[in-house]
């Protein structure tokens, strides 16, 4: 048995777990979890947007970048937790559908990149006492961050539309 197949059997076992079955089979289970996923996405990407727009110099200039970063961090982490846990429940509803979906695989790869970029590169660019950088560099970093995070969102939409 190769590792892909054993992973799939783990997902299949988990997809028969009572809470997952309840969500899958009840009328408003899936729309409910999807709504939580979307609410989490709204808060997560809003915190990213505020930080990136400030980094790019498009407003909020009265507020220190490092202060904003510190204030936003718990909300980014909290919303990321909500999005990942609700996403896991959606995934376990029909794991075989997602495992076979190219946009889903792309979404997961992009999510890893977005998280790595956020907590390494962006964290350095928004840290207190970081040296002043040319605006062009800041704008490029902000654009990359937005491209990664919103790319995750678009890949998520593509799961529904790409056969």
């Amino acid at each position: 048995m190769n590792s892909d197949m054993s992973l799939l059997s783990v997902f299949e076992t988990l997809s028969n777990w009572a809470p997952v079955v309840f969500i899958r089979d009840s009328k408003y289970g899936m729309p409910g979890v999807q709504s939580v996923h979307l609410t989490g996405l709204t808060v997560l990407l809003a915190t990213v947007l505020v930080l990136d727009l400030r980094l790019a110099g498009l407003g909020m200039k009265e507020y220190e970048l490092s202060w904003l970063a510190r204030q936003l961090k718990p909300w980014t982490l909290g919303a990321l937790t909500v999005v990942i846990s609700s996403g896991l429940l959606i995934f376990l509803g029909t794991p075989e559908k997602y495992v076979a979906s190219d946009p889903f695989r792309f979404k997961m790869a992009l999510l890893c990149l977005a998280v790595l970029f956020h907590f390494n590169v962006l964290r350095r660019f928004t840290a207190a006492g970081s040296a002043a950088r040319p605006r062009t560099v800041n704008v490029i970093v902000a654009c990359l961050s937005l491209a990664f995070w919103f790319g995750v969102g678009w890949a998520g939409r593509a799961i529904a539309f790409v056969p």
Partner: protein, 163 residues
Amino acid sequence: MSLFEWCQWLQHTHFATAIAESDWLFPLIEGSHILALPLSVGMVVIIDLRLLGIAFCGGPGTNFVRNLMRWSSIGFAVMFLTGGLLLITQAGKAYGNAFFRSKLLFLLLLGINAAAYQKLFYPRMAQWDSAGGAPAGAKFCAAFSLVLWIGVIVCGRTMAYEF
């Protein structure tokens, strides 16, 4: 012609069917509608959290609201444009849908709530904000906004399951 008949007529116009049957136009409009959530609703959530004294406190409050609302207005422009187009393609189905009707009602109430905040509390925000926090009425507006925006997301996501 009743409103329902008009909705059905609208859904079957050449313009509406061209969007609905396009391989890429409908996904593009729907994706934009969902991914404009952080820029529109997300910014409002951040403002609400500050008014409630939960997060992002410190620094001048009127600037905070003005900056975020400027970005947010772009998000809401995208929302109403894409939402209007989506509605045209599904007007007949949306007409009698309880979740769609609830969403419209919530949006109407949110509009009234935002206008009330703008008229009653925003003009003197600089004073009460620096004096240590929002008056009870402003906090009520913020809490009302948070709850109803989540309601809009839930209704918007759930109505699509019924089409």
